[in-house]
Symmetry: C2
Subunit: 327 residues, 2 copies
Amino acid sequence: MATIRDVAQRAGVGVATVSRVLSENGYVKEETRQKVLEAIQELNYTPNEIARNLYYKRTGIVAVIIPQISHPFFAEFVDKVVVELFSYNYKAMICNTWSDGSYELQYFDMLKRNMVDGIICGTHSITNEEYFNIDRPIVALDHTFGKAIPCVSVNHKEGGRLAAMELIEAGCKNVLQFRGSSKTGSPALLRHDVFEQIIKEHGIGYHEILTDINDVSEASADKATYEFINNYSDVDGIFGTDIIVMSAMKRAHEKGIDIPGQLKVVGYDGTEMSRLASPGLTTICQPIGDLAKESVKIMMDLINGKDVDTNEVHLSVSLHRDKSTAH
Amino acid sequence: MATIRDVAQRAGVGVATVSRVLSENGYVKEETRQKVLEAIQELNYTPNEIARNLYYKRTGIVAVIIPQISHPFFAEFVDKVVVELFSYNYKAMICNTWSDGSYELQYFDMLKRNMVDGIICGTHSITNEEYFNIDRPIVALDHTFGKAIPCVSVNHKEGGRLAAMELIEAGCKNVLQFRGSSKTGSPALLRHDVFEQIIKEHGIGYHEILTDINDVSEASADKATYEFINNYSDVDGIFGTDIIVMSAMKRAHEKGIDIPGQLKVVGYDGTEMSRLASPGLTTICQPIGDLAKESVKIMMDLINGKDVDTNEVHLSVSLHRDKSTAH
């Protein structure tokens, strides 16, 4: 394989000149530039990307840390992040944590060792202090670190309100919420408080089943909906993530409970997958594409050393109304 | 930030000695090694990964090219690939092509420029010749290149047979297949021929709707199932990918068609998402974890210069029987 030295020799110039042509940096006479470009073509020379990155102190890679890529919300988020990064000539490295903080630490170590230029972090199993030790570009999805690290999130309170009002308007008298919990806290959890408050204010029966928000596995959804169908089959309305309520809908179907006749259902996330539910699922949609766009925009500003507004970004949610809450 | 020179100075040794300690390569007196390690700790020195990779001519990254990460089959495949790569201390870079060959070529260019050590390729929109021009590690998922490039696939013929037999045993008399098509060919398409052949051999009515296998978008599934519900609502059995048949089930539900009473349904892929269908979906399961394991194993052998058996690897499929074909 041809090296930069071969190119220089063929073009009859020094290595530094070839380097200037490649980087489009510094003055090179047009005639010389042409000679170098011809030599590059003749020798089929491709510059070594690693060496180039060493020179620019850039890898062109942003790591995206998530609990599990096969979870529909994270799959869609990453899909859109890849699109956005591509437009900046950046690539995405995928880092699953399987909700285990020790993986998260390993990935952060990667950032310290310059394997990636920044991290978009969609899961948080470690303490804030461990984040603050890293003086490199980090953008957090749905996690508040105060002023230290920019956070991109949606207006989850409004999401909780929309869900509660939808079940109330559909005539529910006894509802159950699948409630996410987390040791490290997340603005996403705010929807649960608002949902509970509004339901109770309306004098409606309220129950909840707890689930770990970092554990997005099928087994975890299965466990929660097993508890629902065995202990709460008398509720007439449920609210939870798309995955959990779709699992609950399957169990209701097996038990001969009619949706929406006997049970009204509202999901959360609005993933593409939720469009495949039968009957059609009413769900609170997060603007996943915009979350990705905003996260990548802030990341690029951080990488390029620009000033970044570290106030939390709150994007709007919306209600997608379908058969599962018809009345 | 501390450099290798700072470490050398603090430890009172030469840079080459520090380098030997870091790479665990070459003899260093134990006493000296301790001094170096102490200096590393005192200065909180982390070696520059880019420089290290330049030295070893490795990036520690494998690119995974897929049409779209948010498609459940590819999301699960990538999820498992990330797990497998992790066990080899490798990371995955995600490359979406959105079924556009020009993206594929850009990603291959990345391999040529040493940005990644290899490519696991799960989509094929470009010609075989373009692949053969690349003398670097490539593993293909579901695409045959003859002896040049190893291919990992399942026994799709058996998948087609199992699906046909399931609908026949369920008593179907008039079935429809959502048939994938592709310009570049794929062993995955073999299931369609076998399915059609067995159905016809049994004197059962046969219809098909064509879909582009590289276009895994929701819109594409929507279009196909729209045609189904409008032109073929008299069929009593359907076979297609999990996504397509779940979309068809939703349309059938909206039209008041009972599943499995009036319509039997068999999916293909066996993704986790298919477990959320109501009623429960009978589907042909690809062993997605094993596909990932096998792909990564071959990739690692290629990267390490080992001899690789380029005969196609055919893993077994299995039938998951559920409510959608009950009779």
